[in-house]
């Protein structure tokens, strides 16, 4: 390791672009081939971004077959399309044959349907069968992210038989760290590589297999699967069909990706954006605009409701124009309080820290918090108004409005996400933007009612 420390930076590999381009230009492909063999496929995939279309193809063809497929699986769609354009169909078919089935699906599901048919005609029979099978699973299900490469044992095999089988087929399996014991295609047990390595070679598999294990069904939601794997610290999870036959496995790296994607989508929804799993930079201006406009329009027209309430009190601020100047502060404070509560609850629900049965606990907690927070904010503001505006009644109106607004907004902010969850809606929609709009309306009503009462407007 230390010998190559020059191209490391805190453990990251840094590929030398100039060197690579130099080798390509001087056609010194043997040197490049050796250099690439030492690199991590993730880094090679990242490096491809920096090459133009002509060098890209040369570069990719130098990679060994399996390495090429590996690199391909780490590319984003933009890069894949760039690469595919420079390939003939035979080359694409070669890549597909080498890809793990989940990566092949990931790639093919973004290709035009006619091209997929055309390519699948040419791939190996076994690969085609697997892919056609996997293409049937709906997005967002365990079936759509699983891979069909896994190792099967029978319970009569010995540890030595099992190790021999891993040696025979292991290279092709995405993970060999958990193997599956099957009887009549039904999954009856799992064996970890750890127990294989720790057991004597003549021990039968049935003595070391675990018959209690976690599994999933192909139609299960992929987010639930990922959470289950996180909860139980699983490297891989077997996926069964309706007849309890094992048809694939989901590996931890895919689970992490699912968790990250789902969180990103949650955040987008919480910011009133229609969720989209494409990276920011490769999403077009039109797509961005479209995914943002829907909610903006809804919220904009909802906010006019607040405006019309204000119109009802025109006579109030004609008499006391200073009332208007506290509107932004009240609206912002209400919005912020509501968004604090809703964010905590939405996140708590997402990571299963909060359940529907905690409803009253949560509401009571938020109620007490809102009293503390409301009084502090109300007092701070009241003092400020007395000092600056020398108007005790105004101070009382604004402070009481703040306390009530804080209480309403924390109530709305914690209740709506939990109710949404209960109604099988996505709690992430009940976030800051929507809560703010609702709270604004209520805050303005409270404020002007109190002001009208106290000042007899």
């Amino acid at each position: 390791m230390m010998a190559v420390s020059a191209n490391h930076e805190g453990g990251f590999f840094i590929m030398d672009k100039d060197l690579v381009l130099e080798w390509i230009k001087s056609n010194n492909l043997k040197e490049l081939h050796e250099y690439l063999k030492k690199q991590n496929v993730v880094d090679i995939a990242e490096f491809l971004h920096e090459l133009d279309d002509s060098t890209l193809a040369i570069f990719f063809r130098i990679l060994e077959k399996e390495e090429a497929a590996n690199v391909f699986s780490y590319l984003d769609n933009e890069e894949r399309n760039r690469l595919i354009k420079t390939f003939n169909n035979a080359e694409i078919v070669n890549v597909i044959n080498e890809l793990y089935s989940d990566d092949a699906i990931d790639f093919l599901s973004d290709m035009p349907a006619n091209l997929v048919t055309q390519l699948l005609d040419k791939v190996d029979d076994g690969v085609r069968k697997d892919i056609n099978h996997l293409l049937k699973y709906k997005d967002d299900t365990a079936g759509s992210i699983m891979t069909v490469e896994f190792i099967e044992f029978t319970k009569e095999m010995t540890v030595a038989d099992a190790l021999a089988k891993i040696k025979r087929v292991g290279i092709d399996s995405e993970t060999v760290y958990t193997c599956y014991v099957v009887e009549n295609r039904k999954l009856i047990g799992i064996v970890s590589a750890k127990s294989l390595m720790l057991s004597d070679s003549d021990v039968p598999i049935k003595d070391i297999m675990k018959t209690e294990f976690i599994y999933a069904y192909t139609s299960d939601d992929k987010e639930d699967i990922a959470k289950k794997m996180k909860k139980y610290d699983l490297i891989a999870l077997p996926v069964l069909d309706v007849e309890n036959c094992i048809v694939g496995i989901v590996t931890f790296d895919d689970a992490i990706d699912v968790l990250t994607e789902e969180t990103t989508e949650d955040m987008q929804k919480m910011a009133a954006i229609v969720a989209n799993d494409k990276p920011y930079l490769t999403t077009s201006v039109w797509e961005h605009a479209r995914s943002r406009i829907v909610w903006l329009l809804i919220l904009m027209f909802s906010a006019t409701l607040t405006g019309s309430i204000i119109s009802n009190y025109e006579h109030a601020f004609e008499v006391m124009p200073v009332l208007v100047s506290f509107i932004p502060m009240l609206m912002d404070t209400g919005g912020n309080c509501g968004s604090q509560s809703s964010t905590l609850i939405i996140r708590g629900l997402a990571i299963d820290e909060i359940k529907f049965s905690d409803f009253f606990k949560v509401v009571f907690k938020e109620f007490r918090i809102s009293i503390v927070v409301g009084i502090v904010l109300g007092l701070a503001n009241g003092i400020r108004i007395v000092v600056l505006n020398h108007d005790v009644y105004l101070a009382i109106v604004v402070s009481v409005s703040i306390v009530v607004t804080v209480m309403i907004s924390k109530f709305v902010g914690c209740v709506l996400p939990i109710i949404a969850k209960r109604l099988k809606m996505d709690p992430a929609i009940m976030a800051a933007p929507l809560i703010t709009t609702i709270v604004d309306t209520l805050a303005i009503m409270v404020y002007f009612s109190i002001a009208s009462q106290i000042f007899n407007l």
Copy 2:
């Protein structure tokens, strides 16, 4: 597996509380012991929540030593404290001796210092040395989440020697799927369990070890480490000290936990809450209030700036009170637009999809999006005003204000997080609440300036 399907629900284990309580009451501990041996430790840990203090202790003592430690590592602090209270020190010491070092640290770092000293006096020498060593690492570093249990080889060993060593020490190592080749305490290569299983037994380790690998240093930020493991799909990552000696490993399950925690903290910051890694329900009302009040006060007083700008235009809305009714709509739309942009950028930065070098690309993209979005929203509102208020000039004032507000808010929303990242601040602070406050002020200024111009106010 199918034999026990009665206590499964979609692959989850459901423990039977009544049955367990029945066994405890009737002192049928042998039956309970057998039952628990079949359960997953994660489920047992979850089940402990449902037991009261007296049954809790009985229940926990029935578990086997290693299982008990495992269950303990999955408990949250509240449960641990409840359990610790019923234990004598010898029992606590037993648990600590059995825990993996990272879990022991996790537990001890939340205990009072004098209790820690007292307990450490009694644990095994090796354990004490490891723990004392680990306690020195700062929170948020790789050192603080690593475990010191890993398997070391020398490069002269054969595969057979290596497997024999795993058999000898493997049980105690948190993961045996990557082993580390060490020379003079320096890490010179890694060997995966996969290559051990796939190689013949007389092959020397130096022939199958990988000398190019990803590593981290003890002082590296734990979030960076977790992201690195996600990027390279690593099950474990070796952690080196300043002299490049391997001192521990970080495993994928801890990496997933770090990623989840960091995302939760990001979300809290984005909602103007001082980040806190305690679960919502176990955080007290005072702690909740304290972590929310700081930002609320800052933002509340900032919002009064918007109010004072409004005061400057008192004469304007004395003449045209209808102007006031559009304030909420403008403020909300500006806030929502800004929060859409800032959320996408903050998340993009967090998952390394966006870098500082993309600054101009991002700003230009948001600029074009804001034109599209602004025009759509402006037109929609303009038409509504013409239809409902029959006032073309008012429609023009409000629509132009919306277009300008959208453009300003998308600009502020995308620029501030990137700049924060560049200044090594946390971009998550530049989120909806702060952006909204800034954008509100600007929106009100724009609106009243345009209105004053057009209506000669």
